[in-house]
Every structure is written in C-alpha cells, then in structure tokens.
Symmetry: C2
Subunit: 203 residues, 2 copies
C-alpha cells in the first residue's frame, strides 16, 4: 500500500474528479488516438486511481464516447444555434465550429476523434453515432425541405463540409486556408452550408 | 542461400515489378497506415526482394509518396478535367473523384493517405505536399479570380469539400450520404465546388 500515492489521488466522490478525467481523456485521445491512449495513462495524468476511471466510465470505449464530446455541450449549443431559425443558420454553424476549433487548435477533441476514427473501426462507429445523435440529427430536425430532400442527406452534407474544413485547416494545415481569418472562412463556407440546409440540391 | 525463394522473386528489371510494388504498397498503406506498413511486408506481398523495393523507391517515405498517387496519374487526369475551361468544372471534378472513390471503396489509396496523415506528422507533410503539387496547384492555376481572391484559397476550399466528402461517405459511412447515388452527390456538391472555383467568396 503506497499511502503517499493514495494521498495525491482524488477521493472517490470528489466532485471535480469526473470532469478532470474527461478533460484529460480528451487530451490523451487527441494526442494519441484511440489505440494509443490508455486508461492507465489517463488516470496518471488526471492524478486519480485507474479504478476511479473504470468506476465512472466503465470501458475505454465508453470513456472515449464521453470524452470526445465537444468542449461545449451539444445538447445546449445546437439548440441555441438552431433556435433563431434557418435564416443565417449556415453562417452561425460555420462561425461556431471555426471559433471553437481556432481556440482549441489541433489539440481539439475533434482531431482525437478523427485520429481514432480513421485507424480504428470501433472509433469510427463511435464518431458516426456521436455525429448523428448530437449534431446531424438535431440539424436534420431543424431544416425545412419543401422539395422533399431527405433532411439527413442535408445534414450529412453539412457534416462533410465541416469535417473537411477541420481536416484541411487544422490537421493538414494547407495554406492559405489554414491561416485565413474567421470572417474570411465564414464568408466562403457559410453559403455552402446554408445551401445544404435550405437550398435546391437537385440541380 | 534460399534458392527456392530467389526463384519466386521477380528479377531486377522485370518491367512489371515496379508497378506491382506500387500497387501492393498502395494497398498496404491503405490497410495499415504509414506506420503499420513495412517495406518487408510490401515486398513479401509483391513477391519481390525487399532490396528491389529499396532499389526502385529508396526509403519508405519515398515509396509512400509514390504509392499514394491516385489510381490515375494526376499529371494526366487533372489537365483533362481542366482543359474544357471553368464552365462545369465543379461538376467534372466532383464526378471524377466520386466515381474514382466509388470504384476503389475504402481500400482506396486516398484513405491510406488520410489514415497516415492523421496519425503521423511526416505523412501529413507528404499528403499536404502531394495535394498542393498534384491537385490544388493545378486547380489554382486554372481558376479565374476577377475579384482578386487568392486562387490557392479557392483550391484549398475545393480540397476541404472533397476531403470531407471522402471522409463522411467512405470512411465514416454516414447515411444517407454513404449510399447516395453518384448523380445525387454530384447535384448536391458540384455547385459548392463551382462556387469555390469561380464564385464570389466575400459575402
């Protein structure tokens, strides 16, 4: 029994421990991907016992699913984006994500998700489920499709532009898109997203 | 000396050996990423001596750069796409890539490139260089920008939509975009690419 180590660990029930583990896991997944990150390393970085990580989150898969949530809660952020209606929604969505990612840099959980998803089939499943449940499903429910276009097709097209923007701007860092100002990116990309949401996609 | 193994290997100078190595390397990089693929495994799959791989391609990095070329030669395909001019170029580009990727499925070298790039900084450098030299640079040289927008910004925006489409349709396989017909995808995405190429990006 190493009492010194025990004392540096947080007690079960410490109100901050769960969030501390989540924050640490986000960072570890972002840096090392799904396979590279370990419960042991996450627990060490978070200064908790690995048993506490298992207690709160169960498996590494469940921890991943919880950890890759956006820095903001999609259950709060998406309704706020969608509430004013579809007018200007493309601009609000693009500005929201670019602002979020600019602040996070390439340590954003988003890139941990992408790293995991491309190298690990289970992570791809998790990312797909997360995207659909937390983002695309909400967007699909909000769009108007008078022409009968499947709202989920509209939402997945929005997702394709956002994922690609994230890849090229932050992960591959291809210039000049990598260094373009937020307003320039929003002006260029928002009309794409708006058209996917409300435009005619049949021509 | 294992003469039996020698006889199964191709002789130096075999005209098909170089292409066989490249095809095998594309497949191995697509399946295992940059780090997971090895010269030894590629040589074994291609039924050549590892020394022949080194003879033709030098390092694994150089082999990667050669292997991740599109199934078609960009030096031929891109000029053919661009030659008819900017009218309808968005549609030709989207149809070209979707057709290529639909045929290749998720074993496409494109996805090997993506897998490598997200987990390996050197592969990200290689993908960036490849995209710029072989695709984006050619596209940028062909677009008209009467409003003074940087042609490379236009090209990287095109790249962002194509990379994201590839990610969501083939790698994450989010429905209904994953199963949408080519014509439906082209109708939805081509106007985006056309606007990035020739449209007003300032509003």
């Amino acid at each position: 029994m190493p009492p010194a180590r025990r004392r540096t660990g947080r007690r079960l029930g410490d109100s901050g421990a769960r969030q501390q583990i989540l924050d640490t896991a986000s960072r570890e997944f972002a840096q090392h991907g799904f396979d590279g990150a370990t419960i042991r390393a996450i627990a060490a970085q978070a200064e908790v016992d690995p048993a506490l990580v298992h207690h709160y989150f169960g498996t590494k898969e469940k921890l991943f699913a919880d950890a890759v949530r956006f820095p903001v809660d999609p259950a709060v952020a998406l309704p706020a984006l969608l509430a004013p209606g579809v007018d200007g929604l493309g601009e609000r969505i693009v500005r929201f994500f670019v602002t979020l990612w600019d602040q996070a840099g390439d340590q954003s959980p988003f890139f941990g998700v992408i790293r995991g998803a491309v190298s690990h089939e289970q992570s791809a499943d998790l990312l797909r489920e997360f995207m659909i449940r937390e983002v695309l499903g909400r967007v699909a429910a909000a769009v108007e499709t008078p022409d009968g276009t499947d709202p989920m097709l509209r939402a997945t097209l929005v997702g394709s532009q956002l994922v690609g923007l994230g890849m090229v701007r932050y992960l591959l860092r291809v210039e000049p898109l990598a260094s373009a100002g937020i307003d320039e990116v929003v002006a260029a990309v928002a009309p794409t997203v708006q058209r996917y949401l409300t435009g005619d996609l049949s021509t």
